[in-house]
């Protein structure tokens, strides 16, 4: 809409509309009905179902493979990742030492979370649904220099506790 058509009155109305929303939200923060601002970290939001937070490597929870890792070490997630976050090294399962169904499993699964842009490409590429993105979003830390602080290994990603 061109500016000329809005006119003086229109502009003032738009300003007022915005201000009213601000005031309403301001009130909401103190317990009003329209709460958009939450008192983080005292209160935490429940994310939408499809929110893409920190990854998790899944296990089978039922069926013949119950307890085994879903990941088969195919590295398709690493291939799909535009930020080169993921490094997978595969190895072969043996009867005594079985990690996943089939022949192949990931012996190394590293994610460099300083690089991740949370695009979700890895979860889309995964043929077994092994890598999923959960709702954890508190990933920041001030100990960047600590070695591997942001390097998540397979152990960190498997069986990870998720908070909400």
């Amino acid at each position: 809409m061109s500016r000329a058509k809005v006119g003086l009155f229109g502009s003032i109305k738009a300003l007022a509309d915005g201000l009213i929303i601000t005031l309403k939200q301001f009130g909401g923060a103190f317990g009003g009905r329209n709460t958009a601002t939450v008192q983080y970290p005292v209160k935490k939001l429940k994310m939408q179902e499809r929110f893409r937070g920190l990854h998790r490597l899944e296990r089978y929870t039922e069926g013949p493979f119950k307890g085994l890792e879903k990941c088969i070490g195919c590295a398709l997630c690493a291939a799909a990742c535009p930020a080169e976050v993921i490094t997978v090294v595969a190895a072969e399962n043996t009867e005594e030492n079985r990690f996943s169904p089939g022949e192949r499993y990931a012996v190394v699964y590293d994610m460099d979370m300083l690089r991740c842009i949370f695009c979700g490409m890895c979860t889309e590429a995964c043929p077994t649904g092994a890598i999923v993105m959960k709702h954890d979003y508190e990933l920041a830390d001030d100990r960047r220099r600590e070695p591997n602080k942001f390097m998540y290994h397979k152990e960190d990603l498997l069986d990870r506790e998720f908070h909400w």
Partner: protein, 827 residues
């Protein structure tokens, strides 16, 4: 060269008029022109087979539509033919055909090693249905091992038969066969467990799917798209097979052919393909070893300082010419220049020898250099010659990819193959004529053959059939000679005799326009070593402050043995085992005050060194190598975590410890210098040299005519009750690429005394029993009966550290007493 010029015919593809070669099937011509015709079973090495039906096209020939679609992989073009590759009928047929291929094919690309470089995957994406309709049980059968290198995943095989056809028509080992019929067909391996596979790895590349995969690559080495590829050169022979060195996460992952049609044409031998583990083997020396009272490991710098201290003292005390320098032929060409500068400017000596072919005493004379530096042809030239004569070599062992290509050409009748050497060899199978003579009799044979062709001098009767054939050598003839030349007492004499033979053939065969002589050198860069060693005479290059060598390997060792040299500096050369006269080397190592060895791995010579300095393997050092057709090729380093010094680093380190200036600032400077001193050598920078390499022509001294001797040396024969000791080069021996790669531990290596069954019967020994060779049983080896051994000889591996053949072959040819060993048990 002798090939008929290619004729072209005009055909129409998808409405476009195109010219295609008349002797090539439509599939390849169309693909070369950019028409995407899918295919599985057709392969450029194989004859058309027509199994997979993926290459169907619609054809109109002679003005009439062919009633059915035709397989373009077996369709020869004819003038005026019309082809449709994108007709709806064709597309429909392809899609349905592909559905058939996928009926029994598992959906397991994510875990399949071929995924990412799989023809079935690509074609399913481009031409497939997108979804399967087959809901029934797919065929299953467990995986199987085909040989120590290869694993078969039965479910993935699409029965294209490429591998089986390769095993029968190309490498001729018949190690793979189809068993059963129809959908139940499977591949069975008939690998001889006692024989080491030689060309089996090529089926991994040929298999269009992931049915045949490399055990050493399985799962752990990453996916194909994750590899970093660096062009390099197969290090085991002088063909210089073009390879891609694949690396991932700082480790070498695999070696695959780089497919240079003019060099190895994608045909790698198994030792080259699978021999990469040694690069990162923990036994590789990463620090220096100093042996005084006891052995200590010190840093590389401390080792170089110690070496420099010793050498500095010796050069100071004894003056110029007191140090000898030897180098093997696995180094890069610019590194030879560094060594030459090191010898001349730092060590101040002309007792040096670079390379491994000229083991004689004197430096090769002009006639010898003219023989190796001119009159050779390219590998293509050898393969296109009308007649190929191999003399004194077993190409399957010495230059496997060249041997295999010659073998195929002979099988297809594209050339006449004539062989003469001391033992029968694998390449005889399609040769028109194969002769043998006693080991050490090469010179006699060559001169006799020359005499037969020129009609002068004495002619031994055994050469006559060969002379007959050489009189009709056809349009051109290539002589390929090999190891027996280098193992002979005086290689230059034999080379000159071969040059005389070349002239004799040219004169005796009236319609022969050209005769070439191509020596197969011992190692990957023998030609480069020879070039730098003798560059004052092989080129018109000059270098300040460096003198030409006074002699060859023999001269340096004898000077050391005589006490004239006070120290020996040896770069990557196991002289103690590799030089024929072990006694001379023993004496040399004893009589010098210090031995400085530089090499990646310990070996017999390095154990005797006072200082052993580390050196990178070929995968750690980038540079140029020159192959048997004088093609300059480059090898680059892949990004692997392990770092190791180059020869330049080491000589600069020693020079610094001696208080001298470095021989060159860095490798690029050295390369530029090499390109300056040897005009025409395309080594200015690594980047400028194309991956395929460039040919180079040395400029040897011009000779009017070779004055060749016609005297026949005496016939070689072992006295009664003795056998002729024949050291033979095998593909699998104790060189470090094989000794330190675990994959070869499972390979049966030819560390035997090979006996002709007739001789074995006389001695009363059978397979697996042990015999002692020599008066004092200097060699003790298990026996293997082999019909290819010439009666009266015993063949042993020429590089076996535990039982080195040169303990006996003081002066080849040596006749040895042979005795059965009772006490030593069977293997």
């Amino acid at each position: 060269m002798a090939r008929k010029p290619i004729e072209y015919v005009e055909i129409e593809i998808d409405g476009q008029a195109v010219k295609v070669p008349a002797n090539q099937v439509v599939l390849w011509s169309a693909r070369e022109l950019g028409y995407d015709i899918p295919h599985f079973c057709a392969h450029r090495w194989l004859v058309p087979y027509g199994a997979c039906r993926m290459c169907l096209v619609k054809v109109e020939a002679g003005g009439r539509m062919m009633p059915k679609l035709q397989t373009s992989c077996s369709l020869m073009p004819a003038e005026g033919m019309k082809i449709w590759t994108k007709d709806p009928e064709v597309i429909q047929a392809r899609r349905e055909q592909l559905e058939f291929h996928l009926l029994n094919h598992p959906l397991e690309c994510p875990v399949c090693d071929k995924g990412g470089e799989c023809m079935l995957q690509d074609q399913t994406r481009d031409h497939g249905m997108g979804e399967g309709r087959f809901r029934e049980q797919k065929r299953i059968r467990p995986d199987a091992s085909m040989n120590p290198y290869i694993r078969l995943n039965y479910k993935r095989c699409i029965h294209c038969k490429r591998c089986v056809n390769y095993a029968s028509d190309i490498d001729g080992s018949y190690f793979l066969q189809f068993v059963d019929r129809g959908a139940e067909t499977y591949i069975e391996s008939f690998d001889d467990p006692a024989a080491a596979p030689r060309f089996s790895g090529n089926v991994i590349d040929m298999c269009p799917v992931g049915a045949l995969t490399a055990k050493s690559y399985r799962f752990t080495m990453g996916r194909p798209w994750e590899q970093e590829l660096k062009p390099s050169i197969g290090a085991l022979d002088s063909v210089g097979a073009n390879i891609w060195l694949n690396a991932r996460l700082g480790d070498v992952a695999r070696i695959v052919p780089r497919d240079n049609p003019t060099v190895e044409n994608g045909m790698l031998d198994d030792a080259t393909r699978f021999g990469w583990e040694f690069i990162e083997d923990p036994r590789r020396l990463t620090r220096a070893l100093v042996r005084g009272e006891e052995e200590t490991r010190v840093s590389r710098l401390a080792g170089e300082t110690e070496a420099g201290r010793i050498l500095g003292r010796i050069v100071n005390e004894h003056g110029p010419g007191s140090v000898g320098l030897l180098a093997g032929a696995g180094l890069n060409t610019e590194e030879y220049l560094a060594l030459k500068l090191f010898a001349g400017r730092v060590l101040n000596t002309s007792y040096y020898n670079l390379g491994d072919c000229m083991s004689s005493i004197e430096v090769p004379d002009d006639a010898t250099l003219a023989t190796v530096g001119s009159g050779f042809t390219t590998i293509e030239g050898i393969l296109n010659a009308a007649t190929v004569l191999t003399l004194g070599c077993d190409l399957f062992e010495e230059a496997p990819s060249l041997g295999l290509r010659l073998d195929i050409a002979a099988r297809r009748g594209l050339l006449r193959l004539l062989n003469a050497r001391s033992q029968q060899s694998g390449i005889d199978r399609f040769a028109e004529l194969s002769l043998d003579y006693p080991f050490g009799g090469l010179l006699r044979f060559v001169r006799g053959l020359t005499n037969a062709l020129t009609g002068q001098g004495e002619v031994p009767p055994e050469v006559t059939p060969l002379a007959e054939r050489l009189r009709q050598a056809g349009e051109d003839c290539a002589i390929v000679c090999g190891d027996e030349v280098w193992l002979s007492e005086d290689p230059p004499t034999v080379l000159k005799a071969l040059a005389a033979l070349r002239e004799a053939i040219a004169q005796a065969s009236p319609d022969t326009k050209a005769v070439y002589l191509n020596p197969v050198y011992k190692s990957v860069n023998s030609a480069g070593a020879l070039l730098v060693n003798c560059f004052e005479r092989l080129t018109d290059g000059r270098l300040e402050g460096v003198t030409a060598p006074v002699g060859c390997l023999g001269k340096v060792l004898e000077a050391a043995a005589a006490g004239k040299l006070k120290a020996l500096v040896i770069f990557d050369k196991d002289v103690l085992v590799r030089y024929q006269h072990r006694d001379v080397v023993e004496k040399a190592l004893k009589n010098v005050e210090a031995v400085i060895y530089c090499g990646a791995f310990p070996n017999a010579t390095s154990e005797r060194a006072h200082v052993h300095l580390p050196l990178g393997t070929w995968a750690h050092r980038e540079g140029f190598v020159i192959n048997l057709e004088w093609r300059v090729q480059k090898r680059l380093v892949a990004s692997i975590d392990s770092v190791a010094p180059s020869v330049l680093d080491v000589v600069n380190g020693i020079a610094a410890a001696m208080g001298q200036s470095p021989v060159a600032a860095d490798l690029p400077a050295l390369r530029a210098q090499l390109a300056r001193v040897i005009p025409g050598l395309p080594t200015n920078t690594l980047d400028d040299l194309p991956d395929q390499g460039l040919p180079f022509s040395p400029k040897p001294p011009a000779l009017d005519r070779l004055k060749a001797s016609t005297d026949l040396p005496a016939e070689v024969a072992a006295p009664d009750g003795q056998l002729l000791l024949t050291p033979k080069r095998f593909l699998y021996n104790d060189r470090e690429e094989i000794r330190f790669s675990r994959v070869f531990d499972k390979i049966p290596k030819p560390f035997y005394a090979f006996l002709n069954p007739a001789d074995a019967a006389k001695l009363g020994v059978s397979d697996g029993e042990w015999i002692g060779l020599g008066g004092g049983h200097e060699l003790e080896l298990p026996v293997q009966l082999a019909a290819w051994v010439r009666p009266g000889s015993v063949v042993v591996n020429d590089y076996y550290l535990a039982q080195p053949a040169n303990r006996l072959a003081g002066a080849a040819p040596a006749a040895v007493a042979v005795k059965k060993l009772a006490g030593v048990g069977k293997d």
